[in-house]
Symmetry: C2
Subunit: 197 residues, 2 copies
């Protein structure tokens, strides 16, 4: 069914988007820090790449742009308050790991810290920063992924339902709800459909 | 609590991500078409910008790269099967609007079609294509947003809970579940916390 529409000026209404804890710093030149980012997305499958957008005035901007490494940690619902807090307080004023009782862990491929309490963490190396306006977009290659071992099932597949990930939409955090289907389900349940050749 | 981790090679494990219907074509040089995209994200607040990643071999690649315009339509849960189907069938073989009983609507700012049945649609103009490997990333400015009028509340705010948007994570589509809190809730409920200056 179509509905009457209201036209608004362009604004950041894409939703839902991820809400992630980005880890940065190397513990030497730059202290370990966390920044909450919702302007994040996958940008390429091969090589595996993602992008995060960060304002230059943020405390995490210098370590990310100079060290060219960061981690993307997917928090579970039980860490929603910590996720939110890391987007509001600044690493200039506090140690966010300490404030939020989170544990920095060394990466396999990068010097930036992972968050031990997150079920999934992606280790990323910046390939290209792009200044866009309020934000600089960091394109990055995903070098390694650390996943919580007890969430991997017998077939070696990550059991995402037990990870209790968080979505962000228009200023609000959401739990993931009911699973509607998997990629390709609409054609598999209707064998007569045209399938892409 | 920290957990034992398993280390995997880099892969596209960022989740949840949006799952959107991208509208393209102008109805003249290129026929109207739809493509389902999960590699999408907001990349800048001012100017409002997003990015989508598309494989060059996809039928929608030529209209997007040549016309430099597309729309991003956020489907409700009731259109999950259509969303999935538009990611599996190709516009080379069929008219996806017709196949899925969706209605193309003219944009205010772009020649690409909006999907009338989607509660939110973003009209986008490509500012920069970036070849990354399997995918080309299209950075785009969001020129206008069309929202379903009856989902705007008395205060002029979009009622996202009634839009029933879809998240995509590791190959599965999800409804948004319970709202956990709004941006800043963790510090507002604890007035003693350090707030970013």
């Amino acid at each position: 069914m179509a509905h009457e529409k209201t036209i608004w000026p362009g604004s950041t209404q894409l939703a839902p988007v991820p809400a992630v804890l980005v880890g940065c710093g190397d513990g030497k030149t730059f202290k370990y820090n966390l920044i909450t980012v919702a302007w994040a997305g996958t940008v390429c499958s091969d090589p595996a790449m993602l992008a995060i957008a960060v304002r230059p005035e943020r405390f995490s901007f210098a370590p990310i742009s100079q060290l060219k490494e960061f981690t993307v940690n997917l928090p579970p619902v039980s860490l929603a308050a910590e996720l939110d807090r890391c987007g509001v307080v600044s690493g200039r004023d506090c140690d966010k790991f300490e404030l939020c009782h989170l544990t920095p862990v060394a990466g396999e491929k990068v010097s930036a810290p992972l968050v031990a309490e997150c079920p999934v963490a992606l280790e990323c190396r910046v390939t290209q920063p792009i200044e866009l306006g309020s934000h600089t977009l960091f394109l990055a290659e995903i070098l390694a992924v650390q996943v919580q071992s007890d969430l991997i099932d017998d077939k070696g597949k990550f059991d995402i339902d037990r990870a209790h990930l968080i979505a962000y939409a228009h200023g609000h955090y959401y739990q993931l709800g009911e699973c509607i289907g998997h990629f390709g389900y609409s054609v598999r349940r209707k064998p007569g459909s045209i399938v892409r050749k």
